[in-house]
Symmetry: C2
Subunit: 334 residues, 2 copies
Amino acid sequence: MLLRDLGEFGFIGRISALCKIHGSDVIRGIGDDCAIIKISPHENLLITTDIMVERVHFQINLQTARSIGAKALAVNLSDIAACGGTPKQAFVSIAIPEHLDVAWLEDLYRGISELAAEFEVDILGGDTTRSLTDLVINILVTGLTRNDETLFRNGAQQGDVIAISGPLGHSAAGLELLQKQRESSTQIYSPLINAHLQPKPHISVGRILAESGACNAAIDISDGLSSDLGHLCKQSGLGATIFEETLPVAELLRQASRELTTDYLEWILHGGEDYVLLAAIRPQKFREVKLAATEAGADLIEIGQFVSGSEMKLIKKSGIVVDLVPKGWDHFRS
Amino acid sequence: MLLRDLGEFGFIGRISALCKIHGSDVIRGIGDDCAIIKISPHENLLITTDIMVERVHFQINLQTARSIGAKALAVNLSDIAACGGTPKQAFVSIAIPEHLDVAWLEDLYRGISELAAEFEVDILGGDTTRSLTDLVINILVTGLTRNDETLFRNGAQQGDVIAISGPLGHSAAGLELLQKQRESSTQIYSPLINAHLQPKPHISVGRILAESGACNAAIDISDGLSSDLGHLCKQSGLGATIFEETLPVAELLRQASRELTTDYLEWILHGGEDYVLLAAIRPQKFREVKLAATEAGADLIEIGQFVSGSEMKLIKKSGIVVDLVPKGWDHFRS
């Protein structure tokens, strides 16, 4: 059997079965944004890792070395944010094809270290080796949370507000603009393109959610709203209702949608890599948590509600109810 | 400038300069076998990572999926051993070319998880993605040590015994046998070939060295004796003298040496990937530590002494003294 037949999550399921867990200090293994390990009576260690491959995750001719490096770190910081953590250390492994210039590689590391410095993350090591073809970057990030502030995927309650910490679909639109190489429009659409090339991890929102005591579950939107909400629903044993009218749609997204003749709702519902947080928040406390986010210069937008059952529904502006079917990114099927 | 002009250690030096460390909890960043982070008044967290690339580190047609997986973990466990640690968790990132069968990949993970189980290591996650060409495996391992038992590269003292925890050169000989594809001799030479394909991390020796209170510095031999002893010398501000007559030479190594017309001393001094530990041990305590190792079914072999200065010398059996020049593995020059 080949991976494209099994799919990414089918494969992860199979290998997870091979990985039994023994340590009593392990709170979460495979299946959350981070592995979560108890290291003291009050503190959990968070660990997350992401591997990025040239021509699969990035194109050297479409973006700068700096932005490739920064994004490779950002996607990991976003996982720490989803667990409510403070990122601490990063480890960078890199397999380098011979033709890449040292100056280009230094720019890549500059991109990593600038973003690391912004979040006071120490780069403590890694590994460097040769690659015969593509550049491969694997970054692992550690973080810390208090035991009673750690956010999981599986705690959502019926009636919880579904909130996002920023607009969706910008990254998917930016990617499509890049792929169709509309160079004339690069300037106009730079906010969308930058959303794809230089996502910012929502660390401070993650901390606000964690400290609020009102966030029952969280995840970062890396695969797309439909997929990542699906993870929260499945792991919490709930269904969800999303209201289309509450989904923020930037004018620029509408404009790109018209120009590319792609429905922006597809980008919003299924486009990945926005790296905003998706959270389940106790309804009585939502206003208070949103206020805390606003005061910190961040945002929390109510887009729906967790409901009993296991189905995800989208209530269209017209009032029609449709199934929200996960069709986000699968690395082995896409 | 290209990497082959700068070399692996030149490149690491440059990128290290970009990675400033801020955290007061960081005991070691880049430059030791593991990053070392203080997580409690009594305990240090160890983190190490290794990236392995198809056709650079392994050949799919020369070895089994199980042995590739096991080795990818073993090289990390060996770094934990070099710091005197107990390994705890592993994270496996993998970029998979489309043609690989799921059953083959499950065997790879079986190799990882079997070795992990042997050392009670939990596999807590990782990342899976597509690769367009080569298989890439990055494993990261965490470990723990007591603060006062952590082994570093930089503590060797003048007069310390230089000891190794097993024979050297077997892996290099095994690799050469594999490369020259002497299939007829695979049976005879299987101990050498297995030393290359299935190295065993010397965790228990590492723990014995750590608990002894007599080990002033340690490293694992991954790049070759001359290179790795060079690291201990440089970081400890010392030189070293190695006595050829004390270096163990298995009869099988002599036999392979004759058959391949390669000097076995080259394998022993410069061949990498044996993953035995190289340690600086206080001379007054050496017998005691060696006894503890023997009782645990392991070994410690005295092969030389740390001396003042910065030069490494080899005293040949003939009594002639020659310079021992590091010429171990460099990923960008080899």
